[in-house]
C-alpha cells in the first residue's frame, strides 16, 4: 500500500521507522525508530546536536528524510510540508520561536489559520475569537493585539502554544520549550502540559532531566543520531538518564576551594545604566570580584542582568558610577580597550553576539585578535597560524564539527558555546564575565563548562557568573549576589546560600540582616 494523504482521524499511534537524515558531513538521524501512543507523553532527550530537532522537523514535513517512513495508526503517510502535518493534527512549538516579530499576536495566528484567508479582507475578529476560546480552555492568557516584539520570552512561548493549538493540533511536539523560561514559568508549563495530556499526545524535548522525570510516561534517548535507549520513565533517575545520554557518568563539579583570597580585580561602584526603553535598568549597583573567586549574580532575568553585562563589556553607556579592572578605570571605554585590559566576555545571546555566524569556526576563534602580531602581518592574516590555533583549541575544547572551515552558525548551541569559551580562555583573561553560559545546553556541555570555569578560578581569574539556575550558582560560586529591579539586594556567601533564601531575595523580599554574614570587600 502506498502512502496515503493525511486525514483528520484521531492519532492513536504515531510511529517512525528507520528514519535517516544526512547533512553535509554529518548523519543527524541514523535509523531512528520510535512509537508514541494515544495520550502519551514521550520525553526525547539527548545532547546538543544529537538530532532531536532534525527528527521533529521531519515529523512536521519541514525536512524530507533520506530513508525511513512515518506511520499514523499503522498507515504510512508522507508529509511534503507543514500543511500536511497540520492536516494530520500534528503541531510543533519550535526551539527557536517561529513568530513574526513585527506583527501582532492575532496576525501571527492568522498567518497559519487558513480559514481566516477565505475572504478579501483578513478575518482577524474570527481569529481573535478562536484565540480567546483556546486561551480560555487552557488558561493561557495572551493579548491578541500586542506586537510580538513587545512580549517577553515567556509570553512568546505562550503565543507559540496557543498558535499551535489554534491550528487544531491533537499531537503536540515541544522542542526545548523550557530552555528560555524562568523557573516559575517552567513549573507552570509542566502543570499545563500534564493537564493537556488528557486529550492529546505530546513529545517533549528537554535537557533538564528533572522535568523529564516529572512529566513524561516514556523516554527515548538520542545520541549522535541514534536511539540508545527507549523505555518507561518510571524508575529512571536523572543521573541514570544523564549517563545514557552522554555515554559516561556525568558529575557536575563543585567549587570546593577556600573562599577567594586574592586581590580585588573587577570593581564596580554605584553603577547606573539605562535600558533600551530609557528607564534606569541599574540603579547604584556595586560589587567587587577578587582574583580566584567566582561571584554569582542570581535573579529573575530582566532585572538588569543584561544591562549590567553590557555595561561591563563596554557595549552600553554608563550613566553614573565606575568600573575598573586591576585598578584601571574602564568606565565607558571602548570594547577594544576593555578587551585589551584583560576582560573576557561570554555573552547571553551566543549566536548573535558571541560569534559571527557566517564566518568559519577558525575565523571566529581569532575574532578578538586578528589584528595582533600573533595572527597578522599588518594587513594579511597569518592563515597557518590561524589554522594551527584553531586545531589546538578544537582539541582542548572538544569542539565537534565537520570542518574548522565550516560556518560557526551551523554548529549546535553547545559547540558554539565551546568556540566562544575557547576564544575567551585562550586569551588568558584577568577577569571573565559569563552570562547564562549553560542556558539551553545539555548536561555534558554543562559539566564541561563548569569544569573549565573552576579551572580558571584555580588559576586566579576573577569570574562574574550571571545565571538563573540556582544549582549552578550554588555549585560554583564563592559568593552569590542577588539582583532585583536593578539593585543588588544582598550578597550571600556561597556555602550559606540556600534555595529558599535565594528564592526570597530573587522575588525582592529582603530578609532581616540577622541571618547573613557580613561580606568582606562588599559595598553596603
Amino acid at each position: 500500500m502506498g502512502p496515503t494523504r493525511p486525514t483528520r482521524e484521531k492519532i492513536k499511534e504515531l510511529r517512525v521507522e528507520g528514519i535517516t537524515k544526512r547533512f553535509p558531513g554529518i548523519v543527524a538521524c541514523d535509523s531512528v525508530d520510535l512509537t508514541i501512543g494515544e495520550n502519551e507523553i514521550l520525553a526525547l532527550v539527548g545532547e546538543n546536536g544529537a538530532g532531536k530537532t532534525t527528527l521533529m522537523n521531519i515529523l512536521m514535513g519541514l525536512y524530507q528524510p533520506d530513508v525511513g517512513k512515518i506511520f499514523i495508526n499503522g498507515r504510512p503517510v508522507q508529509f511534503k510540508g507543514p500543511a500536511d502535518a497540520f492536516a494530520a493534527g500534528i503541531g510543533m512549538v519550535h526551539q527557536h520561536f517561529m513568530l513574526v516579530p513585527n506583527m501582532t499576536v492575532a496576525e501571527n495566528v492568522a498567518l497559519g489559520l487558513k480559514e481566516s484567508h477565505t475572504h478579501l479582507r483578513l478575518d482577524l475578529s474570527g481569529v481573535k475569537k478562536r484565540i480567546a476560546e483556546i486561551s480560555e480552555r487552557y488558561k493561557l492568557p495572551v493579548q491578541p493585539d500586542a506586537y510580538v516584539w513587545q512580549l517577553s520570552v515567556g509570553e512568546q512561548q505562550r503565543v507559540e502554544l496557543i498558535k499551535t493549538l489554534c491550528f487544531g493540533a491533537r499531537f503536540l511536539i515541544l522542542d526545548e520549550p523550557t530552555s528560555a523560561l524562568t523557573p516559575q514559568e517552567t513549573d507552570d508549563l509542566i502543570v499545563l502540559l500534564r493537564r493537556m495530556a488528557s486529550d492529546m499526545s505530546i513529545i517533549f524535548i528537554s535537557h533538564k532531566l528533572a522535568e523529564v522525570t516529572a512529566l513524561s510516561d516514556k523516554v527515548a534517548i538520542l545520541r549522535r543520531g541514534r536511539v540508545v535507549f527507549k523505555g518507561t520513565t518510571a524508575g529512571q533517575t536523572a543521573a541514570g538518564l544523564a549517563t545514557l545520554m552522554t555515554g559516561h557518568e556525568v558529575v557536575l563539579p563543585r567549587n570546593e576551594g577556600v573562599d577567594g583570597c586574592g586581590e580585588e580585580r573587577l570593581v564596580v561602584q554605584d553603577l547606573c545604566v539605562k535600558s533600551d526603553r530609557g528607564f534606569l535598568a541599574l540603579d547604584g549597583v556595586g560589587f567587587s570580584v577578587r582574583s580566584g573567586e567566582i561571584l554569582g549574580l542570581a535573579g529573575v532575568s530582566g532585572n538588569g542582568q543584561k544591562e549590567l553585562a553590557e555595561a561591563l563589556a563596554g557595549l552600553r553607556r554608563v550613566e553614573k558610577g565606575r568600573v575598573s579592572l586591576m585598578g584601571r578605570d574602564l568606565t565607558n571605554r571602548s570594547p577594544r580597550e576593555i578587551i585589551d585590559a584583560g576582560l573576557g566576555y561570554i555573552p547571553e545571546d551566543r549566536t548573535n553576539e558571541g560569534i559571527v555566524s557566517s564566518f568559519s569556526i577558525k575565523e571566529n576563534l581569532i575574532l578578538k585578535d586578528f589584528a595582533s602580531p600573533k595572527f597578522s602581518h599588518g594587513i594579511f592574516i597569518k592563515s597557518q597560524e590561524e589554522a594551527r590555533n584553531a586545531a589546538s583549541l578544537q582539541e582542548r575544547f572538544d569542539i565537534r564539527c565537520s570542518s574548522l572551515n565550516s560556518a560557526a552558525g551551523s554548529l549546535s548551541g553547545g559547540n558554539i558555546q565551546k568556540v566562544i569559551l575557547a576564544r575567551e580562555l585562550a586569551r588568558e583573561p584577568k577577569a571573565l564575565i559569563a552570562v547564562y553560559p549553560t542556558r539551553g545546553l545539555d548536561m555534558g556541555a554543562e559539566e564541561f563548562i563548569h569544569t573549565r570555569l573552576l579551572e580558571l578560578r584555580a588559576k586566579g581569574v576573577a569570574i562574574f557568573l550571571i545565571s538563573e539556575e540556582l544549582d549552578e550558582l550554588m555549585n560554583l560560586c564563592d559568593r552569590i549576589a542577588v539582583i532585583f529591579k536593578g539593585k543588588i539586594l544582598d550578597i550571600l556567601a556561597g556555602r550559606e546560600a540556600t534555595r529558599p533564601a535565594l528564592g526570597l531575595l530573587m522575588a525582592g523580599i529582603r530578609p532581616e540582616a540577622a541571618d547573613r554574614a557580613a561580606e568582606p570587600g562588599e559595598k553596603a
Binding site: 512536521m60 519541514l62 510540508g81 510543533m92 520561536f97 517561529m98 516579530p101 498567518l111 552558525g409
Partner: protein, 316 residues
C-alpha cells in the same frame, strides 16, 4: 509673476512628475516587503516605456486607435509582470545574489528597449499620448483645481493605489503573507505558507507596477520615447522605498518631495535666478540623501530578511 503663481506652477509640474516614481516605488515596496530587492526596476521601466510607446505608436491611425493608449499600458504591464517573474526565477528559485541579478535586469531592460526602439522606430517621434482628463467641478476650484484635478487617468489611478496598497498590505491575507515571508520566512514556512510562491507573486506585482510606471513616462509624461527616458528613476524608486519605511503613504510623501524638488530646480533655471545650475540639479538627490540620513530606520517595521534567499533545509 507672483509668488503664488510660481508655487502653483512648480506644483503643477512636480505632482505629475511624481506619478512614475510613485508607481515604481509602490511596486518595489511589495518586492521588498516580501524580502527581495529588485534593482532591475529601472530596466523594467525602460521596457514598459518602450512597449507602451510602441503599442500606441503602431496602433495610430488603425481601427484600434481609440484603444491605443490602453493597449500600451496593458502590454507594458504584462511585460513588467513577466520580467518580475524572470527576476523571481533567478533570485528565488536559483538563489542568485539579488544586487547582481538586479543590475543585470536593469542592463537587459534598458539595452533591449533602446535597441528595439532604434530597430523599429529610429528617430524621435511624438505620439498623442494620454490626454488629461479634468475632473468636472473639482478642476474648476481656484488655485488647487488645475494643479490636482487636471491630470491623466493613470495619474489618478496611481494616487488611488496608495490607500489600496496599504489595504492590501495590512488588511488582506495576501498582504499578511507578503509581510511574513519578508520578515521571517522560516516562521512563515512552519505555518504552511509557501515562501517561494509568495515571493514570486510579490515580484510579479512589483514588475506590473514598474512596467506601468514606465508606460506612464512615455505615454503620459514625455509622449515620446528616448533611450534615457527613465533616467535613473528606477533607482530613485528603490531609494524611496527605504525613505518611506516600506509604508505606502510615506512613499507617496517621498515621491512628492523628490518630484517637487525636481520641478523647483527646473523653475530656478527657467526663471534665471542666479544660482549655479549644477547645484540646482543636485538639489533633489541631496534632499533625498539628507532626509534618509535623518529618518530613523524602521527596523522593527521593515522586512528583516531583505535580500536573503530562503532555503528550508539550510540553517543559516
Amino acid at each position: 509673476m507672483t509668488a503664488l503663481t510660481i508655487v502653483l506652477n512648480i506644483l503643477s509640474i512636480g505632482i505629475p512628475f511624481s506619478v512614475s516614481l510613485l508607481l515604481a516605488s509602490l511596486g518595489e515596496m511589495f518586492n521588498q516587503r516580501a524580502g527581495i530587492f529588485n534593482l532591475g526596476c529601472e530596466g523594467i521601466m525602460s521596457m514598459g516605456a518602450f512597449l507602451g510607446f510602441m503599442c500606441a505608436y503602431s496602433l495610430q491611425n488603425t481601427a484600434m486607435t481609440p484603444y491605443a493608449n490602453l493597449m500600451g499600458v496593458l502590454v507594458a504591464g504584462v511585460a513588467g509582470t513577466l520580467l518580475g517573474l524572470l527576476f523571481a526565477l533567478v533570485t528565488v528559485t536559483f538563489h542568485a545574489p539579488q544586487g547582481i541579478a538586479g543590475i543585470g535586469l536593469q542592463m537587459l531592460g534598458t539595452g533591449a528597449a533602446g535597441t528595439l526602439f532604434r530597430h523599429f522606430v529610429g528617430g524621435v517621434t511624438g505620439i498623442p499620448g494620454l490626454p488629461n482628463c479634468p475632473i468636472p467641478l473639482l478642476s474648476k476650484v481656484p488655485f488647487i483645481g488645475p494643479v490636482l484635478f487636471n491630470m491623466n487617468i493613470l495619474a489618478y489611478l496611481a494616487f488611488l493605489f496608495v490607500p489600496l496598497s496599504s489595504y492590501i498590505l495590512f488588511k488582506t491575507p495576501w498582504g499578511l503573507k507578503v509581510r511574513a515571508v519578508g520578515t521571517s520566512p522560516r516562521s512563515a514556512d512552519t505555518m504552511a505558507i509557501s515562501v517561494q510562491r509568495t515571493r514570486y507573486q510579490a515580484l510579479a506585482v512589483g514588475g506590473l507596477f514598474a512596467g506601468i510606471a514606465g508606460a506612464y513616462l512615455s505615454l503620459g509624461q514625455a509622449k515620446m520615447f528616448a533611450d534615457d527616458i527613465v533616467a535613473g528613476r528606477g533607482f530613485i524608486a528603490v531609494a524611496l522605498v527605504y525613505f518611506g519605511g516600506w509604508d505606502p503613504y510615506r512613499i507617496l510623501g517621498g515621491s512628492l518631495l523628490f518630484s517637487i524638488a525636481q520641478s523647483l530646480q527646473l523653475s530656478i533655471q527657467v526663471l534665471g535666478i542666479k544660482f549655479p545650475y549644477e547645484f540646482a540639479v543636485m538639489l533633489p538627490y541631496v534632499l533625498v540623501i539628507v532626509v534618509l540620513a535623518f529618518t530613523r530606520s524602521a527596523v522593527v517595521k521593515g522586512p528583516a530578511e531583505l535580500g536573503i534567499p530562503y532555503d528550508r533545509e539550510k540553517r543559516i
